[in-house]
Symmetry: C2
């Protein structure tokens, strides 16, 4: 007979035993990262952080997420295509944030020159918290949307099997049966393969632009392997490699190490420290100017900044992007947690006062990708 | 167009690149071992040794292996059931080899008392070399048969996918298509599950008797996970655990940590250093005396010693075990490489002289399992 989670949680010995089972299962199923100590060693790996039991998500909330994700993707796309909104939203940020200013500068240069490539690939990850209201109801609050280097789709492909095994050994058979399959690596690869096909050159390759420290390489490899299965060739290169060997030809085709690049898939370039030299910035500009399909392009990267997300929050703004879709607007807005400016001035002062009054009710997030508290 | 292996082998850069791909692929597919430095840490792993490309095996030889394996399994079974043959074969060995003598002593005690359990499970691994004759022909030479703790069936389940990926990236597509699926972990688990079923108690468990240093734990885990899928419960215990908490009841049922043991699956106990105390030997005797199904039992363990294998080599011996099957005898004998005694006396002296005359033609193997050169 199947146990209940509450019974299992009370049994300390079992929990300890399940931790052993869980760690080895994560290894066997490839839920891996390289270690902090040796982030570039191909010889050792550890497991990526994961929960012992899967998180329970009410089915209504799950359905809601699926629906709203399409809306978010369309919203990001429309924002990225709206120069005046991007410019207005980021005007105050680029005055004080050198990183965003440099990205914005690349955006302006490419826009003025004219986009070489009409196709853009967006692989976005939208992050949520499950908000428990005092009456016990659960609702979905979006934390952020990641439009560049959204990670863990590869490892997430493997976690259902890890959880299934843990629940099996814990004799939580009913829960085990409820775990859904999920293969985001295959989905991400489908997007990349489609863009590669649209680029239209059999000999051109997908280039993963990767960090110098490749701790999360296994997450990438899942997507890469799915691409190989589809006969789409992949290379991995760092900014430095692009600086050293990259160039554009007269048609603005991008070549790196003499290979024509069909797609630049940015798994790097979202933090100031990713740009270790002026050459890195030159390389970014070159890639953005190129005929290669970018995932994401510079507009989509900017559309994912927190400042833009904050500017979408006030009444009337979403309506500008979906003028004839009140339903879409309502569904997106339902997931908004409050986003507040810290700009100097009256509105920023109000935010500060509000946060100081109830500090445990807010989180402070940096403007750019890559974490923050 | 598909490349050839010779082309690939000439391209040093490609080979280097394939090594990277191969290592990461081994990680993703769970071809893992714990590291030498931290053999018991659940936090880090490395990959198990493997070849970059799969070994080519002529199809005739492959078919031969499949056929002869059944014969070898039957031979081991018949030898294990033949006390006088075991006794005669090992008489000289037990005089000089304390380890084999102690095992033989357990065998004698249990035999005198009478076997509690008629069912024995054999999970044997037969190792071969492909012998190239001067005329270019390939033939199969058996190195040894492992009747206890035969390892790497779990990891071998995963290597076809690793090789497929390497060959894909190397553009060796024709070779890639020729790789066969292989799932020995599932096969081994089927054997264990069948023995568990025959033991006939739903609440009894399969006990993996494991080493103190569990470097090869992932290999075990594959078999364990296949058992869980079949709803066969598994525990892992060391000699020390059996010493501390193991006992037999009046019906000679074995209990460890208050759990009834349906199967003792020996992944330990094949080398003298596995027995760290007299208590380990007591525990081995207790397990052998018990009603639990042993994999292998002490008779089968002894049947796998090199000495016994050597005693099977002379003309007329195989015929004693397969009196009406000349075809079986011929097929087994065709795989025999020479096995020569080093016993004191005329025959041993001849071996020594022969080996000294052509030292690169022979390997020296220890009497017991666990490697040797």
């Amino acid at each position: 007979m199947s146990a209940t989670r509450e019974e299992v949680l009370r049994d300390e010995n079992l929990i300890e035993y399940l931790q052993e089972i869980a760690r080895d299962s994560a290894f066997l199923h490839g839920v891996l990262m390289r270690t902090k100590e040796t982030p570039n060693s191909p010889e050792v790996a550890s497991y990526a952080p994961f929960t012992l039991f899967p998180t329970r998500v009410p089915s209504a909330v799950f359905t809601q997420v699926l629906t709203v994700q399409t809306h978010f993707n369309r919203l990001v796309d429309r924002v990225s295509q709206n120069p005046s909104f991007l410019e207005e939203s980021l005007a105050s940020t680029i005055k004080v944030d050198d990183f965003t200013a440099r990205l914005f500068n690349i955006y302006k240069q490419v826009k003025e020159e004219g986009w070489a490539q009409a196709i853009v690939l967006g692989l976005n990850r939208s992050d949520y918290m499950l908000d428990q209201s005092p009456d016990g109801g659960t609702s979905l609050k979006q934390i952020e949307i990641n439009t560049i280097a959204a990670s863990f789709g590869g490892l997430a492909s493997q976690t259902p099997d890890v959880h299934r095994h843990i629940l099996k050994v814990a004799n939580l058979l009913e829960e085990q049966n409820r775990i859904l399959d999920n293969n985001p690596a295959a989905g991400l690869a489908r997007g990349l393969a489609k863009a590669w096909e649209l680029y239209g050159s059999e000999s051109a390759v997908v280039m993963f632009l990767v960090e110098d420290l490749q701790r999360n390489i296994y997450d990438h490899r899942y997507i890469e392997n799915e691409l190989w299965k589809k006969n789409v060739p992949v290379i991995r290169r760092r900014f430095e490699d692009v600086c050293r060997t990259g160039h554009l030809d007269q048609r603005r085709r991008l070549f790196v190490d003499s290979k024509e690049i069909a797609i630049v898939y940015f798994r790097n370039g979202y933090m100031p420290q990713n740009y270790t030299s002026e050459q890195s910035w030159d390389a970014r500009l070159m890639m953005e100017r190129s005929l290669a399909v970018k995932c994401p392009d510079i507009s989509t990267h900017l559309a994912g900044t927190k400042k833009v997300q904050q500017e979408l929050a006030p009444a009337g703004v979403l309506e500008r992007f979906f003028p004839d879709e009140p339903e879409t607007v309502a569904q997106i807005r339902a997931t908004f947690a409050g986003l507040y400016t810290l700009d100097m001035g009256e509105e920023g002062d109000k935010t500060v006062a509000m946060a100081l009054a109830n500090p445990d009710q807010y989180v402070l997030k940096p403007q750019r990708e890559g974490g923050g508290k």
